[in-house]
Amino acid sequence: MPELTMVEALNRALDEAMEHDPDVLLMGEDIGVNGGVFRVTKDLQAKYGVNRVRDTPLAEAGIVGTGVGMAIAGLKPVVEIQFSGFTMQAFDQIEQNMARYHHRSRGRYPISMVLRTPYGGGIHAVEHHSESREAYWAHTPGLKVVVPSGPRNARGLLAAAIDDPDPVIFYEPKAVYRAFREEVPDTPERIPLGTAEIVRDGRDITLISYGAMMRPTREAADDLAELHGIDPEVVDLRSISPMDTDTLAASVARTGRCVIVHEGPRNCGVAAEIIARLNEEVFEYLVAPIKRITGDDIHFPYFQTEEHYLPDPDTIIEAVRETVAFDG
């Protein structure tokens, strides 16, 4: 099994999907000769031609809107928005068309389409290049929202997203793109959308996170076990919507405690939704209030100070210790 970065694993998933199904085609800015600014589509134009790997004009609404039309025409477009900050240009097309044609046509036109886009901070980028706005898309009925956390699940989730009959917002943690390598099996893998994964078994508390924040969360979990005698269970959410409430609830029912970590802003964020669901499902099992470590409700700081905005292992450890020490 080769060790791949997330960029390479995503490239592999796209290649496999295109190889397998001639209806899969790619559209986006600078994805052709340039292979995308992060090189996720590297060499694919050379392999599949300009008709299947299309450099578009610089217009995100155009990319998403025409992608929707191509899906109606029976194709499987995988469109790239260069940075998630620029999905805002396409908000109208995502909310009004991508998420709705299936419903509006009473099932006649399913929109089997994927919108891939890099999100999140930590790479010293200029303004508008570090935001995490997954909560917007989870709020829109009809969209699936998926966030991989490493090379292997990135490849398996992207394959499943391309297969899926519904439109998927595929949020790629750019801080993880080249951060580490992981073994990726030779044969194609599919990870069902809507499933969370328990990546570390534990008894004392459930830590829930996704995407780039899985790394500080897992690091915190290891430190807690080693240095503080606390044994955390760690869950990688993977799908924001639909959310695998069953796995989350079962874990928290076992541990009785929960801390949720994400880098997007707190107000109406994903953690708020998880807390609401846990209250509905397992309130009687809770022995301490659920805490959330999130980005603050401010514009993402410019990069000289971004480290103080992003959740770090120390902050997570502290929240866990407080939660475990809670004596109701």
Binding site: V37, A61, D297, Q304, T315
Partner: protein
């Protein structure tokens, strides 16, 4: 440049479509001509430095030297920023070498009461407008304070989101019109930005309101790896303006005199109630898109070299020498003075480049809600615990 009809534009589809990438392809052609019905072409100073005397704005020597110095300073600043970036002392940066004439020409005719709303590749124009170089260095190195317009400068912070700033720029112009101020807005954006729907909306709002605004489209041939021909199926791009009923002109963007003449006419028309103008400035991005980009992947060195012959600085230098405004030694002195100025700015930048994480919550609201004040308190306590100032 020869006369081209709409038909020739329409029929010139596909890969082999000939795009005159510069108004100075033929140094002897007439300088003020019709590009295509509805669009004028303008060039005053040819690539070889020869000038069309009838069109020369006849600026006095001091002004000519000021313009030259501004272009040289822009180039030197650009080179210094690249060096700093390569040395790990600067963030990702979008260089502008080759576009100095477009930059300086578009703001030269503006007065202090006028407005400017640029895109990111605009430090030349920003420096001319009064942005201290150290402020721009702070900005590109990840300090938000660098975005604050200097006191008294009626500029908006530059926009990184392509085309997004054009609508607010039109709105400012509509505001000036409503308040009966005779101030004009100049806004710039790239060839790529023309693909954004909001830019079309901006042209339309400006046209129907006859707002006092000048749109400068810096056609530098590329939007990252995407050629202008992949971006837009009309040529000249200035035809876009025509479609909205906006007077439109294609200017040799490497000819600072032509840029000044075109922008000055447009500004004066806007100031006197004549509404918007669309200027396509034909120029070329000589360097990388940003320091994170590798143009070798998508373009040839030959193409870049061909544009070196059309360098806006060299061309203007020949003109100055020809008019006896200065001599070779004078040009070299300007170069040295600019280098010293940029180094002094770098030193001031270094003395100010201190991260201020405690300001992260400032300016999110004018009136901070209690809930956010509580978050801020917790954040400051976290900084205290981490021992961060």
């Amino acid at each position: 440049m020869t006369h081209r009809t709409m038909d020739s534009v329409r029929s010139s589809k596909g890969k082999n479509r000939r795009t005159p990438r510069s108004a100075d392809e033929d140094a002897n052609a007439a300088r003020r001509t019709i590009a295509t019905p509805g669009v004028e072409d303008l060039r005053i100073l040819a690539a070889d430095g020869s000038v069309d005397r009838d069109l020369d704005p006849h600026l006095d020597d001091d002004e000519l030297l000021r313009i030259h110095r501004a272009m040289v300073l822009t180039r030197v600043f650009d080179q210094r920023m690249l060096t700093m970036q390569r040395q790990g002392q600067m963030g990702t940066f979008a260089p502008g070498a080759g576009q100095e004439a477009t930059q300086i020409g578009q703001v030269y005719p503006l007065t202090e009461r006028d407005w400017f709303s640029p895109s990111y590749r605009s430090f030349g124009a920003q420096i001319w407008r009064g942005w201290e170089m150290e402020r721009l260095m702070l900005l590109w190195d990840g300090f938000f304070e660098g975005f604050a317009p200097p006191p008294g400068v009626r500029d908006l912070p530059f926009s990184i989101v392509i085309g997004s700033h054009v609508l607010p720029a039109v709105g400012v112009a509509m505001g000036m019109q409503y308040r009966e101020e005779d101030s004009v807005m100049v806004t710039n954006f790239g060839d790529g930005a023309l693909s954004q729907g909001v830019v079309a909306e901006g042209l339309n709002f400006a046209a129907v309101n006859q707002a006092p605004i000048v749109f400068v489209c810096e056609n530098n041939g590329w939007a990252i790896s995407t050629r202008v021909e992949q971006q837009c199926h009309v040529d000249p791009l200035a035809l876009r303006g025509v479609g909205f009923g906006v007077p439109s002109i294609r200017v040799d963007g490497n000819d600072v005199l032509a840029m000044i003449v075109a922008t000055r006419e447009a500004i004066e028309r806007a100031r006197h109630g004549g509404g918007p103008t669309f200027i396509e400035a034909v120029t070329y991005r000589m360097g990388v898109h940003t320091t994170a980009d590798d143009p070798k992947v998508y373009r040839t060195d030959d193409e870049v070299e061909a544009w070196e012959d059309r360098c806006p600085l060299r061309r203007f230098g020949i003109y100055l020498l020809g008019r006896n405004v200065t001599d070779q030694a004078g040009l070299e002195r300007i170069q040295q003075e600019c280098e010293a100025e940029v180094l002094a700015a770098r030193d001031r930048f270094r003395s100010r480049a201190h991260a201020k994480p405690r300001e992260a919550f400032d300016f999110v609201f004018a009136d901070m809600p209690d809930e956010l004040a509580r978050q801020r308190q917790a954040y400051l306590e976290k900084l205290d615990r981490k021992g961060v100032e």
